[in-house]
Symmetry: C2
Amino acid sequence: MLARGTRVLAAVSGGADSTALAWLLAELDARKIVTLAGLAHLNHQLRGDAADRDEDFCRALAARVGVPFECEREDVGAEARTLGVSVEVAARGARYAFLARAADKQSAVCVATGHTLDDQAETVLLRLLRGAGNRGHSGIRPVRETVIRPLIDCRRTELRDYLAHRGETFREDASNADVAIPRNRVRHELLPVIERMAPGGLAALARSASLAADDEDFLEAAAIIAASDVVLVDGDGVQLNVAALARLAPAIARRVIRGAIERVSGSEVGRLTAAHIEAVRNLDAGHLDLAGVRIDRVGERLKVQGTKMVGLKAELQ
Amino acid sequence: MLARGTRVLAAVSGGADSTALAWLLAELDARKIVTLAGLAHLNHQLRGDAADRDEDFCRALAARVGVPFECEREDVGAEARTLGVSVEVAARGARYAFLARAADKQSAVCVATGHTLDDQAETVLLRLLRGAGNRGHSGIRPVRETVIRPLIDCRRTELRDYLAHRGETFREDASNADVAIPRNRVRHELLPVIERMAPGGLAALARSASLAADDEDFLEAAAIIAASDVVLVDGDGVQLNVAALARLAPAIARRVIRGAIERVSGSEVGRLTAAHIEAVRNLDAGHLDLAGVRIDRVGERLKVQGTKMVGLKAELQ
């Protein structure tokens, strides 16, 4: 995951996991295994005073570790409203865009995040309980482009033990206790039952996710190849050949449709669910409006267009 | 799943699900939609008196429904010891072999089982918590060769309500309460938490399984095509070309290995886990003994042989 001597930036929130990440990378830096280029923190301005105290904590942490601190503030709530997406989606987009800028400024070749085995198990369960299929089953990728998750095989409790052992503190995120958030219900209600029922079950789920990720890579590659017979770029949008789509295995047809929609909507697409994809597969007539995309059945074609572009064109006319 | 007029045999245990199945198929028969060819029950001789009372209940049920009754007794415990597999694996093998014979005797073209959405969710969770990957995620197939599961989208509670509405009884299987059995822990401890936490979560999990099944079909087909470059039939066993195997995507390489082992071991293979497959992928030297199969690394080949055959050959020499 980390070649010897790599310059890595650590993303920190102030929570236990990413605080442990910062100290662990600092240890590897001291042993000349990697170079810790700095800590990076995005203040999402979502939790008022608490968010500012998280920022202060992270700034102080960087000073104690002895590395540069990259920080930005972004009104993620406003961003979510502007884009018409959930706060979670807007926050993720803003965070990774910020991390790429911060890595650039510190000449880091990759960004490490503090995702743990617990995060992996939560993510997989959350997505499967929403009917997400193999893509959901794949969970969090240990390496995705320039983002790495070196703690993905570590338990959250191990990291807290490590911090306690070092005598280091961290910030408790009050929103982690909010059981109105589905992820927190999985964390606080489901995970403990699994742990009690099937010791090792969460680690097995994480291994299952890693197999699913390899499956997904193969299926995605097959879909990209298959798309050349199905997808036709058409100005701002794309067209899908219905007959060619019907000849594909269902597993591949679904991924070709997803790819076409994501191509048109870019990162603006909110949560494109398996049910949306099935609706597109079964669109015999008329049109569908998904998050940011409109799909029209026109004869033996499915026309996929971004609704922002459609709106923009209407304004210009 | 059931073409109009199909002759179908119903597999019954005496429990609520399969009792409801029998009555539902009898209703479809009365409305001339399908033909219920009979009820079939295998007495596994695993629970003494209770097993005999289950058999009696099923015989009486067939008489009340007014269809033929097919029944056999088999000492599944002894069978499991002979084969060196778990009682669960031996019971499944014995049951499906019996059902095929029974369908044949009653000229039924398919066998219906009482698997429900609850069974599907249990199966998927159980397998994922063992790290089973997409194959586990696929769960129970609604249609597999001549076996169909018409209740796979029904909740267990719906079927009990249906029986109560009809005034019909069923047998409670005492072993369903035994929380030493992992499936029962999933049923009694995990499912209720999911239901409370995420209403609709079990149905979503079942939808996810159905997507995974389509993915698995595609991946299996790709592995069968890929196998022609990797697998060489060698007398009683097979050989795998290590270099050719290494060129495959991991998703496909794993399935080629599984296919080779299953080809050699036939139905004798017990529980071939993802960890076994990884061990074969990483076998640099020496050999591995899996359930019923021995794998030797010989130069740039992996030789896969059934240990029963190896034993038999030694005896003959």
